[in-house]
Amino acid sequence: MDPNTAGWALVVALFLPLVGAGALALMPASMDREIRRAAVVITAIAFALVSAIALSFDYGRSGELQFTTDASWITAINARFTLGMDGISLPLFWLTYLLPLLCAIYTTKHLPAPGKPKAFLGLMLLLQTGMAGTFVAFDLPLFFIFFELTLVPMFFLIGMWGGPRREYASIKFFLYTFFGSVFMLVAFLAIYFTSGAETWNIQQLSEMAPFGSATFQTWAFLGVFLGFAIKVPMWPFHTWLPDAHTEAPTIGSVLLAGVLLKMGTYGFIRIGLPILPDGALRFAPVIGVLAVIGIIYGSLCCLAQTDVKRLIAFSSVGHMGFVMLGIAAMNEAGIQAALFGNIAHGVITGMLFFLAGSLHERYHTREIAVIGGGMLTKIPKYAVMFAFVAIASLGLPGLAGFWGEFGAMWAAISPGLGLADTYGGLYLALVILAALGTVLTAAYFLWLMQRINLGNPLERWADEPLEDVQAIEWVAWTPLVVLVLALGVYPRLVFGVQNDAVVNLMGYLGG
């Protein structure tokens, strides 16, 4: 494939899951096993195609858009169908095809009540197209549609296959994030009209920036900020997340943490910063402060949780805080670190939610005190895997979690675009507090491991036959474990791909 001309490949990859969802819909619901296998085949083909795209991607020009498509779409409002991919999009896009494949494999054996694989997998495929489109859309209306498209399938995934409070959680998820999107949409409209260029094209708008008055920049960035900050989620807009995660089925949580949250940080980087540089600069210290509050606060909340899955959900608040700290640094290293943290968090926390789901299937509870320790004796392979991923999540160097965190703190010590001159002291304080957050992160993970992994099994579990890691789990999890290690040992894998694109992007900001 020639990355300059093969725009079709991206289009095919993007809509393949959607077509697959349609195909599943045509299958009779009674063909339970076949439907699950078909979903694996569909996601596998899509993943293979995206891997082929990644292989033929021209890494020498990763700063430029490749596999582009630009067609007229809704002429009445000048909206165009613009797709493309650069070094920033590629890792996230690839992850968006890896995780659903693993989820489909996992679903061949595990599907929560009320079953119905056809609807479940169909919704997952629909969700996949929405998420994937977000990372390759380069026209604002198209971006918005993909961004919003994810809400509906996730709403149903939580609402139908979720835990006891699924209705509350799903509606809260939907309305809260949609609430933010409204502001974002208004901001998009304001951008369109203020620029006066009659284009929604993200790159063209980035090149034109900055435009509009200071008031415009502030208000428009505020709108974009609300939309994305709720998605990330940043403190104090995070309260939908623990509920959504706690109630969501395993697959829902994996995709929510693995990809969906990244759409928020990606939006900041792709749209907020380059198109509204002045607004972004004005908000950067605020973002930094909220990010660090999120780190400390999320970690403290984790210490108080009694439910393993809710704990992992709160850990996302802290980890995404590091990503946002990188963005608040407003320099190349910060964006690099933020994007790396994105990927690392997707892989690690996605894996943690897989593990939490399997924990529930074995113990039929996620209460730490009820499990009560001894997993290393009872189900040693599972426990070792849990420990490995938990240690990765607490940011051990050599594993994926480290680079995003360390990079963000390094970048924030000398924020770009003149922020260092005015806010140098603030940012130093932010770095120190963020480092304190890593200590709290270590604390809650070690404490968690002490309470469920170590020691001897409680009496109630002593005679219970609990299954260690199953074959299907090995298949679904091994790629993630390998990635956790590979990204940690060879960070160039992501940093190298992104670098030119990040440099380009920051060029728009003049920094």
Partner: protein, 718 residues
């Protein structure tokens, strides 16, 4: 031979390969994986010996061997490196780490025999050795941080090796979290130093040589140096057991004894001292930093040693003695004893590993850590006895043992520093001598309790096997021999000082705050342009006491002190101290354990020591409990109730507004019509009310109301 240095990375990679291989198929091998660890370490050790030989004959090295590879690009200006830096300091560390690790690997085959996690243990030993080597060979601070954190996690896993016991789990957590807390300092310090490098036309702001070069050239601002190095020192304090962050180290004795010997005596705990030595050219720019380091070191070397007096557990005695000896090393750095500190680090690694392995041999024999269960072991365990005594003499600094040469070197460094007019020099010298008395006393007490008198063991003691005794003998030889590498038997051109010289620490290197003090005073803290000077404000002037100026007038105060010479006055003084301490110990413990141990009869002093100065209690009551139980719950409550309550409140208010709109405006004003803004609000409210309960309506209504508010706001703004 010189080409050999290019392959120094093999020393690091071999233990990693062994860790991976042991994990993969160690269980299926005849020796359960231990043969892989021993083989790889043996090769690494041979390489290290050759590397050390090569670096030493080339010394002083003008150009160290450096090699690096771009680990990751970070934007258009900077990269992270993965690389190696081989100079005298690296060579010394490689030699120490591989020697002790090899001995511990061999020893553990017998000591850990029959353990159900035998293979795992060896995999961890190899992984730890790799991590430590990765740290000491690092050419940049990011890699150093990576190695630093990795040794920490290996330490955590090995302290908690017997993880069925809650106390071991707690000890592991305490060790990891205490050091992790201090790592705030390490990480902030490292990024502060690197930020100081921005704008200096480098793409590798973490490169250790470049940072050292920039510091000695006066290109780093005072803020960078002082903040960066004090922060890094905070990290070193926990890792290298400096008070009050030493609290994890005695608890870490919960791990198997070979682990204590390797990680918590000889290597990992010296990582902090190593990093200080590595960055010595930076910290030497600021008297403030050096004073802080010296004072913390002095406090630790004395008060840490006192804690050993009231212990019954032999491993705890040795742990506190490690704390105290690390205090000597750190204090030496603070008084300009770069060579002395590294030298003591080196010799201490051997004799402390020896003592721990000896203790392990004793524990193996009597199945107890407590000296009250030992007694009369000299007859039953002659090899352990003799080697333990040699280790004790070295630790006590008895003349002509390794500890004598290295500890004296530290005291001499203090004397020289004092001679230049710095008060901390006197502190190190006199407190160092006082602590030598304490050291000798508690070690003599331990030896009498263990070896003299009748056996109190419930198990008839027996000598350990060859695989345990062998390493003891080797380490005993090294506990004497390693001292002679920096004894006056060497020439002025070839001695430990020239071997550990780096390109920035040479005979000519001077302390900027001493040598350039005149200029600095004249400029009133303005940037000093001369090499070795220091830029910035305030700090320097504050540190420049008149005495410093006087000293500077006499001549430049150089970093290196010149070739070693005999100091018979100090030798005599220390001999008196030694025999006094042994004499006192003999009086109390020489004829078997006293009914009432005098160290437990010191009234309030004993109480304070038994309570470990209250640091543990303080940390638990005022840090652990508030964070874990109070703050965490407050945060969780605020999230679930306050913040989420506000979200719900907005929804509820909007819902009420929507209903009011529906009833008043829609039903009454528009009179039956269902159009306009109220249409959607009321319609949604009604629909959602029927299908769902609770919060649904709130959010739906919030959405609508929010949109309205926003449209109005934007209309007003434009």
């Amino acid at each position: 031979m010189e080409a050999l240095l290019d392959y120094a990375w093999l020393v690091v990679v071999l233990p990693l390969a062994s860790a991976v291989a042991i994990t993969a198929f160690g269980k299926n091998l005849p020796w359960k994986g231990s043969e892989l660890g021993i083989a790889s370490l043996a090769i690494s050790w041979v390489l290290s010996v050759l590397i050390a030989y090569q670096t030493f004959i080339m010394s002083p090295m003008e150009e160290p061997v450096e090699f690096s590879y771009e680990w990751a690009p970070m934007g258009s200006e900077f990269v992270f490196e993965l690389g190696m830096l081989v100079d005298g300091l690296t060579a010394v560390m490689l030699l120490l780490v591989t020697t002790v690790s090899l001995m511990v690997h061999i020893y553990s085959r017998e000591y850990m025999h029959g353990e159900k996690r035998f293979t795992y243990f060896f995999a961890m030993l190899s992984l730890f050795t790799f991590s430590m080597l990765l740290l000491v060979i690092a050419n940049n601070l990011v890699q150093a941080v990576v190695g630093w954190e990795l040794v920490g996690v290996c330490s955590y896993l090995l302290i908690g090796f017997y993880w069925e016991e809650k106390s071991n789990q707690d000890a592991a957590n305490k060790a990891f979290l205490t050091t992790k807390f201090a790592d705030i300092g390490l990480i902030v310090g490292v990024v502060v130093l690197s930020a100081g490098m921005f704008g200096l036309d480098t793409s590798t702001p973490f490169n250790i040589r470049e940072i050292n070069a920039a510091a000695t050239a006066g290109e780093l601002s005072t803020t960078t140096v002082v903040l960066g190095m004090l922060m890094i020192f905070l990290g070193c304090m926990a890792k290298s057991g400096q008070m009050p962050l030493h609290v994890w180290l005695p608890d870490a004795m919960a791990g198997p004894t070979p682990v204590s010997a390797l990680i918590h005596a000889a290597t990992m705990v010296t990582a902090g001292v190593f990093v200080l030595a590595r960055l010595f050219p930076v910290l030497a720019q600021s008297l403030v930093v050096m004073n802080v380091i010296a004072v913390v070191g002095v406090i630790t070397l004395f008060f840490g040693g006192l804690l050993a007096l009231v212990q019954d557990d032999i491993k705890k005695v040795l742990a506190y003695s490690t704390v105290s000896q690390l205090g000597y090393m750190v204090a030496a750095i603070g008084v300009g004893g770069y060579t002395a500190s590294v030298f003591h680090l080196f010799t201490h690694g051997f004799f402390k590993a020896l003592l721990f392995l000896g203790a392990g041999s004793l524990i193996h024999a009597v199945h107890s850590n407590n000296m009250s269960d030992m007694g009369g072991m000299a007859k039953a365990m002659p090899y352990t006895f003799v080697t333990f005594i040699i280790g004790t003499l070295a630790l006590a600094g008895f003349p002509l043992t390794a500890g004598f040469f290295s500890k004296d070197e530290i005291l001499i460094a203090g004397e020289i520093w004092a001679g230049a007019g710095f008060a901390t020099g006197h502190l190190v010298y006199w407190v160092g001598i006082a602590a030598a008395f304490v050291t000798t006393f508690y070690m003599a007490r331990a030896c009498f309790l263990i070896f003299a008198g009748e056996s109190r063991s419930h198990h008839p003691p027996h000598e350990s096997g060859k695989q345990m005794v062998g390493p003891l003998v080797v380490l005993a030889v090294l506990s004497i021999a390693s001292g002679y590498i920096f004894s006056p038997v060497w020439t002025a051109e070839q001695n430990f000082e020239t071997w550990t010289e780096t390109e920035f620490i040479t005979e000519e290197t001077v302390y900027p705050f001493a040598a350039d003090a005149d200029d600095a005073a004249e400029d009133q803290g303005e940037a000093v342009g001369t090499p070795g000077g220091i830029q910035g404000d305030g700090v320097l002037a504050a540190g420049s006491e008149p005495s410093v100026l006087a000293a500077a007038e006499d001549g430049e105060l150089t970093v290196l002190h010149g070739a070693p010479t005999w100091h018979f006055d100090l030798l005599a003084l220390l001999l008196v101290v030694f025999f006094a301490a042994v004499g006192v110990a003999w009086k109390f413990y020489g004829k078997g354990p006293p009914d009432r141990d005098p160290t437990m009869q010191m009234g309030r002093v004993t109480t304070v020591l038994v309570n470990k100065y209250g640091f543990d209690e303080f940390g638990y009551r005022f840090i652990v409990v508030p964070v874990r139980d109070t703050m965490s719950r407050a945060a969780s409550y605020s999230s679930n109730v306050l913040i989420d309550g506000a979200v719900s409140g907005v929804g509820r208010m909007t819902k009420n507004a929507a209903f009011a709109t529906y009833r008043v405006l829609d039903q009454k004003v528009i009179d039956g019509g269902v159009n306009g803004a109220a249409f959607s609000a009321a319609w949604w409210s009604e629909r959602l009310k029927r299908t769902q309960s609770g919060n649904v309506q709130r959010y739906a209504a919030a959405l609508v109301a929010g949109t309205i508010v926003l449209v109005v706001a934007f209309a007003a703004a434009t």
